[in-house]
């Protein structure tokens, strides 16, 4: 899978490396600021109240 993506990135090794780094950072940012904040309230281990 990653091999396939690597082969389909444009340019030589240097430009492929830069594009991959940007892709990885973008996915991390998406997870940290969009996906995780959405998922988190739906998980059970954040309960700090009684009763509710």
């Amino acid at each position: 899978m990653y091999g396939w993506i690597w082969r389909h990135l444009p340019g030589g090794t240097a430009s492929r490396a830069i594009v991959s780094a940007v892709l990885v950072l973008g996915i991390c940012a998406l997870l940290l600021f969009v996906v995780f904040p959405w998922v988190e309230p739906r998980l059970p281990f954040n309960d700090v109240t009684v009763g509710g």
Binding site: L32, F36, P44, F45, N46, V50, G51
Partner: protein, 252 residues
């Protein structure tokens, strides 16, 4: 030469399928690790910004005199910040802005006040919930509180000093003359810790002003709740009398 042997083409595809599955599993593992980093560190960083914004807003409101005073009807609080909590045992710089309400929206910003429980200084029991790990971890070290430790609440015009229950002489959190422990670990359903008299009937008439803090227990888990009970020590201290706060703020 796969095409020379019928069937070899299908067989040789298996390593690549296994490779993709393996890569997906490794990726999944990394995403879970990133989630742990998010929970433990990133939410703390985000919360630091939220708390300092809230603190600035609240103090501006207080200075302008437009804040909802806790003595005004509860409807005026509308889920916003209304008080500051100080726990000198957890650090002389420990201060957290308290919001009204205990929904996740409030608790990601700071400790939340259980709706319907007493307000600062009122007879009854003021309940506050806070996160143990992540979201600024306001209640991470509540288990370090000892009998007699001050928990100070600041409102628009007053200071209130609560003290953790228990036997101050022996340091036994269980041995308060009132029978109410300074610290207990309960099930998540044990709502009686928030009763007007902690652990009493839900509709009892209040006999004193209590403060109850709740958070999850053990750390990283929500199996149980760690509870701290404190009682108001002395009365209301007007800010006009002590603009810099009571001496309890520097007690450790």
């Amino acid at each position: 030469m796969a095409h020379a042997h019928p069937g070899r083409g299908r067989a040789s595809r298996w390593p690549s399928v296994a490779g993709v599955v393996g890569e997906l599993l490794v990726t999944g593992g990394l995403v879970v690790l990133l989630f742990v980093v998010y929970e433990l560190f990133v939410t703390d960083l985000l919360n630091e910004g939220k708390q300092s914004d809230l603190s600035q807003q609240l103090h501006e409101q207080w200075d302008e005199g437009t804040a909802a005073s806790p003595t005004t009807p509860r409807a005026d609080l509308t889920g916003g910040a209304f008080a500051v909590l100080y726990i000198p045992r957890l650090g002389l710089d420990y201060q957290r802005v308290v919001l009204d309400g205990t929904s996740e929206g409030q608790l990601t910003q700071g400790p939340g006040h259980y709706e319907g429980t007493a307000l600062p200084g009122e007879p009854g029991n003021m309940g506050l919930a806070g996160h143990r790990v992540g979201k600024g971890s306001p209640f991470l070290d509540l288990d370090q509180l000892r009998p007699g430790d001050p928990i100070v609440v600041e409102t628009v015009d007053s200071w209130f000093v609560y003290r953790v229950l228990g036997d101050v002489a022996t340091g036994d959190l269980e041995a308060d003359p009132s029978g109410i422990p300074g610290q207990e670990i309960v099930r998540p359903t044990d709502i009686q810790v928030l009763s007007p008299i902690p652990n009493g009937p839900a509709d009892a008439a209040p006999t004193g002003s209590y403060l109850t803090l709740t958070t999850c227990h053990p750390r990283f888990s929500a199996r149980q709740r760690l509870i701290i009970h404190a009682r108001l020590d002395g009365g209301v201290i007007a800010k006009t009398a002590e603009p810099d706060g009571p001496v309890a703020l520097t007690e450790r």
